[in-house]
Symmetry: C2
Subunit: 329 residues, 2 copies
């Protein structure tokens, strides 16, 4: 038997409008439990006062918005986890370790307390798993039928990995498999924190990003000026979900892998002098996650726009700076 999912808006009289703001904040603290420490390291004062981790302080912010990042098909637990995981994925792409989160909720009065409790439960379980403390935030009333949750996440890294650090000749890599995330992965994904930290410690790592807008849109962000990406299209790791999506869409599976987005995998640049075989062997010792070398950075050819993605087999552009153009097989 499938449990009925709670509805986000006003399925009964049990909505946030029935609770005073102070009581609502108290409920959320209670639901968060141990991941919401007391003052001064947590909620209950004007700001939290914490110890930053060693190295550089990482600061990021990403929301989940009803109708944009989730819809009525998602469980509230999955939405709460997604909010934190989106931000964890950004920390992973810096090679960092996550620390402290602030939660900013903007809600209409008809948001269901049952739904909100599920959302907070999902957020809490995710915070526990990744050692994040939720140390503050704010609640405000929003427009009708709105649920907007912002999360600001801090982290630390001895040597944060920038996006831009690659040079001509360096190789391009991606973790996991890509495409078709709307079928479930956009909620179920696992932020690549241990992999990001492992990669940040490799001397050959030059640049890294998490794939959120689709590989074809995100890969150019790793490319130095006056360069293009020469891709081995048969090395692009196409997920089963991308194959399934292609069966009922006008695009092929590779289209989905390059264009869908919300993969939350890591794409990175490795120095051309790195021994790729030894690198892959060390990777396999560290993790079971698939790893693919998908191409290399080349000097921009004449007549081709900067940061174009090219098919190494044909030399033809498959996507340009204006975005991914559907790949013609």
């Amino acid at each position: 038997m499938r449990m009925a999912k709670p509805l986000l808006f006003g399925e009964d009289k049990n909505t946030v409008a029935t609770v005073r703001e102070v009581a609502l904040i108290e409920k959320i603290r209670l639901w968060l439990g141990e991941v919401a420490p007391a003052c001064p390291e947590g909620m209950g004062d004007d700001t939290a006062a914490v110890d930053p981790g060693p190295g550089r302080l990482l600061l990021g912010m990403d929301p989940v918005v009803y109708g944009r990042h989730f819809d009525d098909n998602a469980t509230p637990e999955a939405v709460g986890a997604k909010l934190l995981k989106r931000n964890l994925s950004d920390i992973a792409a810096m090679g960092g370790i996550p620390d402290h989160a602030l939660l900013g909720l903007v809600l209409s009065g008809d948001v269901s307390l049952v739904w909100l409790e599920g959302f907070v439960r999902g957020l809490k379980e995710c915070a526990q798993r990744y050692g994040v403390k939720i140390v503050g935030g704010d609640i405000a009333q929003g427009p009708d039928k709105s649920f907007i949750a912002q999360l600001s996440l801090t982290g630390h890294a001895a040597r944060p990995v920038p996006r831009l650090g690659g040079q001509i000749g360096d190789t391009l890599w991606v973790t996991g498999q890509l495409g078709g995330s709307l079928a479930g992965w956009h909620l179920d994904f696992v932020p690549r924190l241990p992999e990001g930290q492992w990669l940040a410690a490799q001397p050959g790592l030059r640049g890294m990003i998490d794939v959120t807008d689709g590989l074809a849109a995100d890969l150019p962000k790793l490319l130095p000026p006056a360069s293009v990406a020469m891709l081995d299209l048969d090395k692009i790791p196409v997920s089963d979900a991308a194959q399934k999506a292609a069966a009922t869409s006008s695009q092929n599976a590779l289209d989905h892998a390059l264009g869908d987005g919300e993969d939350y995998e890591l794409a990175f640049v490795l120095d051309k002098d790195t021994n790729a075989l030894a690198f892959v062997a060390q990777w396999k010792d560290a993790t079971a996650l698939p790893l693919s070398c998908i191409g290399r950075i080349e000097r921009q050819p004449e007549g081709i726009a900067e940061h174009t993605l090219l098919d190494a087999a044909t030399g033809q552009p498959i996507a340009g700076p204006g975005g991914y153009e559907h790949f013609k097989a």
Copy 2:
């Protein structure tokens, strides 16, 4: 001649919906100018990577929401400044120094670009004034007719001032003047950063808060368990705006001073052994801002609820933990 204020929503074709997200972020970076540094200390990577200040790291988050924290009477510049100043006031109440901000915008497509540019201009000028760098954030599409801006602000303090630190016999103080903020002060207020930092360095300071929900609602947050506040009502600093508001409302000026909120003044607790005359003399050397000693913390009398506010002249309660009850003259 009064300049026409730009409208928030769709006065012309020049709305955020006409601009791609990447281009919109680029516009905002351009408008922010020098307060938005480049990578790695700023925008353009997965997260910003900055150096935390010395001491403890302060983390806070407060939004401005259309219809809730501002309406069509506010200029966009004032709204942008208010967003940062609300957060600066929280840092001030910790005795801290502000550092880095993240900006999370959730907008409907019909938000005017002219209005948004004014908002960013106000935010920028405020950030310049207070030495804050805007180092990242996110833009997402929101519900119809929505403008929701979250700001997460970091700061640092050698000795962050908690709310709770006062004891029986300690004295209660407030800066500036209170009440009637809706007439303009809720936009025009000045966060009490130098005063907060000065107070944090005084050995007698026991606890501090910024007055946002009204003195009657915020003062109890400074009170230790089993205590009440005994207030000298004639010492409550009533603003001219509170006097004006009383002329056209059913409340008297003191009601407004105690209940209106959005004063963004500092309320604090001073150790009972502090020489108050010497303290006031030093304060006057440091700042021209009015300072009022408004009462003291006393042991909770029998039959009176914890954290009640009492009139010292009559011994009668004027507000309880359930909130401010209109003062009967």
